[in-house]
Subunit: 213 residues, 2 copies
DNA sequence: CTAACGTTTGTCCAATCGGTCAAAATTTGC
DNA sequence: GCAAATTTTGACCGATTGGACAAACGTTAG
C-alpha cells in the first residue's frame, strides 16, 4: 500500500473495500450497544471475524472507525428531513416525514442508538456539525413550516419544537426499544408495535395540527 | 466498621453518610456523561475529591455505586406517573403530568441521561424492574386513561403509546440537550427553551386529545 | 515463475483499568 | 487523655486496553 487510506483519493483494493465494510458493520453493532469507550477493538474484530492487528491494518485507530461510521450515519439520518418539501399538501408532507422517521427507527435501530450515544455524551465529535449543517437544515425546514402556518394550512405552533417532538417520539422506538417491549409485554410488544406507534403518532401529530374551525 | 455496608441495617457513621452522598453525587455526574463502562473509578474519586482507595472504602465495587444510583433514580423517576390520578379532570391531570416530567428533564438532566444510558445499552441491570414494577405501573395508568376515553373525556387513542410519547418528548430535552441548544442557537437556546417546550407540548398533547365535537 | 505488492498473524508494549492491602492518620467513645 | 474504631493513603497487582511491529503468508501483474 503506497497511499494513505484516507484522503482525497482512497484508491482501494477489492479486499480493502469488502473488509472495511465488514468492519464497519461489526463496529456499528458493537458501538451502538456499548458506546465508544465501552467498546473494544477486540470485540469489533471478533464480530468482524478477524484478528485485532488485521483490523488495525484497515483502520489505524479505533476512533477512525467511529468517525467513518458517524459520517455515513449523518448523511442518511437527515435524508428524511431534507425531503420535507414545500410543494405538496402540508399535512401529507408531515405525515410522510413522521412515517419515514419511524421506519428508520424500525429498520436502522443501531444507527439511531449510535447517534443517541454520541449526543448523550455531549456530542464531542460532531458538535460543529450540529451547530452548522444540522442547524441550517432545521432552520430552513422550520421556515417552510412557518409558511404553512401563515397560510393557515396547519395550526400555529413552534416549528422547531415540532421537529424535536417528531425526532423524540420516533427515535424513542429505536433508542428505548428494550423499555417499550418490556412495558408492552409479550402480547403487544411483538412486531405489531411499530404499526401501533405509527397509528398513534399520526393521530397525535396530524389531528393535533389541523387548523381550528 | 464491624458490619457490612449493605443489608437491612446499614448503621452508618456521620462521615460515611456524608462521603457516600459525595461519591454518589460525583458518580452521577461521571456516569451520566460517560456511561458505566466509559467511566473510571479514578474519575469519580477525583470528582468527589478523594483518592481511589478511599472511595473504594465506601463502595467496594464500581458496580455498587451504579446500583445504588439506579435504585434511587427509579424511585423518584416514576413518581410523576404514580401521581397520575383518577380523581380530577383528565386533561388537567395529563397536563400536569407532562409539566412535571418536563420539569424533571430541566432540573434533573443527569438522572435522565443515566437512565437513558442504561436503556440504550439494553438495560442489563434493570431489566427485571422494567418487566415487573414499571410494566405494572404503566398498565395500571393505561387503564385509568382508558377509563377516561370510555367516558368520552379525552379522545380515543392508544394509552401505552401516549405514555411513551410523553416520556420521549419530555426526556428529549434532557437527553438530547446538546442538540436542542445547538439547533436553537444562541438566541433561542437559552433558559427560555423549556418554557417554549412546555407551551408546545401542552398544545400538542392537550389540544390533540380534546374530544371531537 | 517470480518479484512486487497486499494481507494476515503472533508477539510484544506501555498505559490504564478495577481492586487489594497493610500501614499511617484521624476520629470517637469513655 | 487514651484506647479502640474508623478513615485515609501509597504502594502494589493482575487483567485489559489500544496500538506497534516485523515476519509470514497470499495475490497478482508481467
Amino acid at each position: 500500500m503506497t497511499d494513505a487510506m484516507e484522503g482525497s483519493a482512497p484508491r482501494r483494493t477489492r479486499i480493502q473495500q469488502e473488509k472495511r465494510e465488514l468492519i464497519l458493520e461489526a463496529a456499528l453493532e458493537v458501538f451502538s450497544t456499548n458506546g465508544f469507550r465501552g467498546s473494544t477493538i477486540d470485540q469489533i474484530a471478533e464480530a468482524a471475524g478477524m484478528s485485532k492487528p488485521n483490523l488495525l491494518y484497515y483502520f489505524r485507530r479505533k476512533e477512525d472507525i467511529h468517525e467513518t461510521l458517524m459520517e455515513r450515519l449523518l448523511a442518511t439520518w437527515l435524508a428524511p428531513l431534507r425531503e420535507l418539501d414545500d410543494i405538496g399538501d402540508p399535512l401529507t408532507e408531515l405525515r410522510s416525514y413522521i412515517r419515514r422517521k419511524l421506519e428508520m427507527a424500525r429498520d436502522f435501530p443501531r444507527e439511531s442508538r449510535l447517534f443517541a450515544n454520541e449526543i448523550l455524551q455531549g456530542a464531542p465529535r460532531i458538535m460543529p456539525l450540529l451547530e452548522g449543517e444540522l442547524k441550517t437544515l432545521v432552520d430552513e425546514k422550520a421556515n417552510v413550516i412557518k409558511g404553512w402556518m401563515r397560510a393557515g394550512k396547519i395550526a400555529r405552533t413552534d416549528p422547531w419544537h415540532l421537529i424535536f417532538s417528531i425526532w423524540a417520539t420516533t427515535q424513542h422506538y429505536a433508542d428505548f426499544d428494550v423499555q417499550v417491549r418490556a412495558v408492552l409485554g409479550a402480547d403487544r410488544g411483538g412486531d405489531g408495535r411499530f404499526e401501533d406507534a405509527a397509528r398513534f403518532l399520526e393521530q397525535l401529530f396530524i389531528d393535533g395540527l389541523k387548523p381550528k374551525g
